[in-house]
Amino acid sequence: MAHEDISVIRLRDLLLVTVPPDPDDQTISVLQERVLDAMARQDCRGLVLDISTVQILDSFFARTVAETVQMVSLMGGRTVLAGMRASVAITATQLGLTMGKALTALDVDRAFDLLGALPPKGDGYE
């Protein structure tokens, strides 16, 4: 249905994934698969999840993101959630959702800055 709406782009050693506005459960699961696939095939040290058009962030989405962040971390990468909407941030907080160890940034630009500024994993950082 909306699988084509997820865009996964590799920019050097970083992945940029753009999430559609109201993804169904299957789209979210496919997103996770494609991220892990891309991480495995290429040497990526970071994932930027662009959620600036996402209108609803429920527990399934949050769980999948938290899992993805953990898997990416195990594969040597970091994840940044970029561009969360104010209404979504408020709702997610009140619902009690956490996104695991994901970093957050106001937009994709800052997300890339964040990943650029961080030293690659494995050198004792964190």
Binding site: L81, A82, G83, M84, R85, A86, S87, A89, I90, A92, T93, Q94, M99, L103, T104, A105, L106, D107, R110, A111
Partner: protein, 277 residues
């Protein structure tokens, strides 16, 4: 209204003619007698006017029908009768339902009526329709909220830094509105640093403290940070007592100190001009 001498209404009101006349003709108050189990025993003109039922259709019915469904589900009518029986009197303001289903805001006093030997004879219930007063109160509250909003703006003071000085008492609704305004402003101005100054807030309750903590968490989800400044000792005490972990919240005693922290986090610093050359 022809009645048997021993009718419930007679037993509760007594047979003093002038008193009965007073009760029966008062229009602005619903004066209702209930039997010890809460069934309507007598009705007056005011009750018909306020609640909409005629005497012949309501006497003998249980008084819980005047309450909204939610209240009935929670057992509120029974609780109020029990409170009146215990304390002698129960007073409350709340929503009640008319015959046509419309709700009105009521001021209610339920009094337990007892025989000389203490046995419960029934209850007297006086109800006043306060909808109009509540309307006015609401309007005033809304106006004062609007004034509060004007006096607590979220201002961008530098590229990447917004400041929100909170002044006055914070209630749950005001804090939620603030949360929305702050987050929207952060997104609009693309500011990773938000200074929230609560020097002008004397006390906060549990709900508000929770909302404040929620605000800080929500700001983090956006990708920004909050520096909390001006935390008064009383507030610090409340937060600690509520078990709120302040260790991962950046705090400073003054807004000025907070600003320096914010600039520092943005890798900026304030340098004095060299006026010598």
């Amino acid at each position: 209204m022809p009645e048997q001498p021993n009718s419930p209404s007679n037993k509760l009101l007594g047979t003093s003619d002038s008193f009965r006349l007073l009760v029966e003709t008062v229009k602005d108050y619903a004066i209702v007698m209930l039997d010890p189990d809460g069934y309507v025993a007598s009705w007056n003109v005011g009750a018909e006017r306020i609640k909409g039922y005629r005497q012949d259709e309501i006497v003998g019915k249980h008084f819980s029908c005047f309450y909204p469904l939610d209240a009935i589900e929670r057992g509120v009518p029974q609780e109020e009768l029990e409170a009146a029986a215990r304390e002698g009197r129960f007073e409350d303001e709340g929503w009640r339902v008319r015959k046509d289903g419309k709700q009105f805001w009521a001021s209610v006093v339920i009094t337990a009526l007892r025989e000389k030997d203490g046995t419960l004879r029934g209850f007297g219930k006086v109800t006043r329709d306060l909808t109009e007063r509540k309307r006015t109160e609401e309007r005033l509250q809304q106006q004062s909220r609007e004034i509060m909003e004007l006096s607590t703006p979220v201002m961008q003071v530098w590229r990447g830094v917004v400041v929100a000085p909170l002044i006055g008492s914070l209630d749950s609704q005001r804090t939620q509105q603030f949360m929305e305004r702050l987050l929207n402003r952060i997104v609009e101005t693309n500011s990773p640093m938000a200074l929230v100054d609560i020097m002008g807030v004397p006390t906060i309750d549990t709900q508000t403290a929770q909302h404040l903590v929620e605000t800080i968490s929500a700001v983090r989800l956006l990708g920004a940070q909050v520096v909390l400044t001006g935390v008064q000792p009383a507030i610090a005490q409340t937060l600690v007592h509520l078990g709120i972990d302040l260790s991962d919240i950046t705090t400073r005693s003054s807004l000025a100190a907070g600003l320096l922290v914010a600039l520092d986090m943005l890798n900026l610093q304030v340098v004095a001009k060299d006026l010598r050359s």
